[in-house]
């Protein structure tokens, strides 16, 4: 166990006019600290490519995850995949990244553009050994990983971007490296880096990708906890217990809720300084309490956070509004979705009688439902989530 973790984020676009993507990414979490990621690019495009790449990535990831040798994986694929009528071959190209304890990576590459390892903001030239299996040349690498290493790998759609339109020969690996070295900052998430590169490819393609394009990033980062206090405890006698547990936690602290922030202020012996700036017309302004990283209103703000969380990863744009806005909901979204690897919810179950008015969309059930939905969503994004009720 160390305090590092692996952040994996990938995005794809389909070839212009295609309904299905011929690239497929499969992620298997063997444990919190061991992951297998396979990016497969099926021959051609459309349904055939999609089936090939899905089969390839699923077979490889399952077999590698179960400790099978690479030779048997490749044999199995060769024996399993349907043969293309036109081309008389059956394969898809692939890149496999396997991380071990967040400290070591095994990289296996077959015919996809060569993986780029960004270390300290620069492309790092890693050693490769060549193996031939069934006449296929496969490159293997075993390498130690550092904090804030980015492993960026793509399907060949990325390097064909712009061929014949904005550029004569597409952009080559060197240009992609240059782009990444210029754009990527150490605090970017894997998802952000993938989206940045994919957006650039789409731009070069003039919005009409000539091939399925997929970018996958694996980032090694330090674990970060964010703690969120939401609502007063049901039994007022538990306020001190709830507060002391909450503030004892390592990491950032968010207090969400009007009464809740008053209680937190009393516990800390600090005033709650509310601001009157409506940075988003629908979200109540934030407040400040010394010793708390962020203080916001409760249910309305959290409902918006849930909306952001649900659309996170669905829309491929990095430039979501909440990335740059400073209202309470955007700030919570950044902390929970981007910064945190571990989220601890401290949920108070007191019922505010004034909120039980059927005309108001903020009653108790809605509140509890919010927490449940948000924590499920955060879990599905690969975060460790703990919810404690008081």
């Amino acid at each position: 166990m160390n305090d590092l973790c692996t952040d994996i984020g990938f995005v794809s676009v389909n070839k212009f006019g295609e309904q299905l993507c011929g690239d497929h990414v499969e992620v298997i979490d063997q444990s919190d600290d061991n992951h297998v990621v396979v990016l497969a690019d099926g021959l051609g495009s459309g349904v055939k490519a999609s089936i090939l790449s899905t089969l390839t990535s699923t077979i490889i990831s399952t077999m590698v995850a179960n400790g099978m040798s690479l030779e048997s994986c490749v044999d199995t694929i060769a024996a399993t995949l349907p043969i293309c009528e036109v081309r008389k071959v059956a394969y898809s190209t692939f890149t496999i990244v396997r991380t071990i304890d967040n400290r070591e990576a095994e990289i296996i590459q077959y015919d996809n553009p060569k993986l780029i390892l960004l270390r300290d903001g620069k492309s790092f030239d890693y050693p490769q050994t060549e193996t031939k299996i069934d006449g296929k040349t496969i490159f293997k690498t075993k390498i130690d990983l550092h904090e804030n290493d980015f492993l960026v790998f793509t399907s060949d759609g990325a390097i064909w971007a712009g061929v014949g339109t904005t550029m004569n020969f597409g952009w080559q690996r060197e240009e992609i490296v240059e782009f990444l070295e210029k754009m990527v900052r150490p605090d970017f998430t894997a998802k952000t880096v993938s989206s940045l590169l994919l957006d650039e490819c789409c731009r070069l393609y003039g919005g009409k990708p000539g091939d399925d394009t997929t970018v996958c990033t694996v980032k090694i980062r330090r674990r970060r906890s964010v703690n969120l206090l939401f609502g007063p405890p049901r039994d007022p006698k538990d306020v001190n217990k709830m507060m002391s547990l909450f503030f004892a936690k390592e990491g950032k602290h968010i207090v969400s809720g009007g009464t809740t922030s008053t209680l937190a202020g009393e516990y800390l012996g600090k005033p709650v300084e509310t601001q009157l700036d409506y940075l988003d017309p629908d979200i109540p302004p934030i407040a400040k309490i010394e010793g708390v990283d962020l203080v916001t209103e409760g249910v309305i703000t959290m409902s918006r956070v849930l909306e952001y969380a649900n659309s996170y990863g669905e829309t491929d744009s990095v430039y979501a509004d909440w990335n740059v806005k400073e209202d309470g909901a955007s700030r919570i979204a950044r902390l929970l979705l981007e910064e945190a690897t571990d989220v601890n919810f401290f949920v108070g179950t007191a019922i505010n009688p004034a909120h039980q008015n059927p005309d108001l969309p903020i009653n108790f059930n809605i509140k509890m439902h919010l927490v449940e939905e948000l924590s499920e969503r955060l879990k599905s994004l690969g975060k460790r989530v703990k919810v404690s009720y008081f």
Binding site: T262, P285, L360
Partner: protein, 79 residues
Amino acid sequence: MKVTVCIGSSCHLKGSRAVVERLQQLVAEHDLKDRVELSGKFCMGNCRNGVSVTVDDELFSVSPETVDDFFKQNVLAKL
């Protein structure tokens, strides 16, 4: 004089923002920036009768429709 508007959930839904913005306007129009301090507060424990506004320590219920009258009667008149 200190005028505090509740911006908690319940009052927010009943129009805190409109009340705050109108009060800011009125204060500016009457050139009272030096004499009236506008501030916000999360939840004054009077959620049923929002939007809650206090003038110094006296509590009022204001709505976006009544904010002009409120300002005349309880802010201007008392300065």
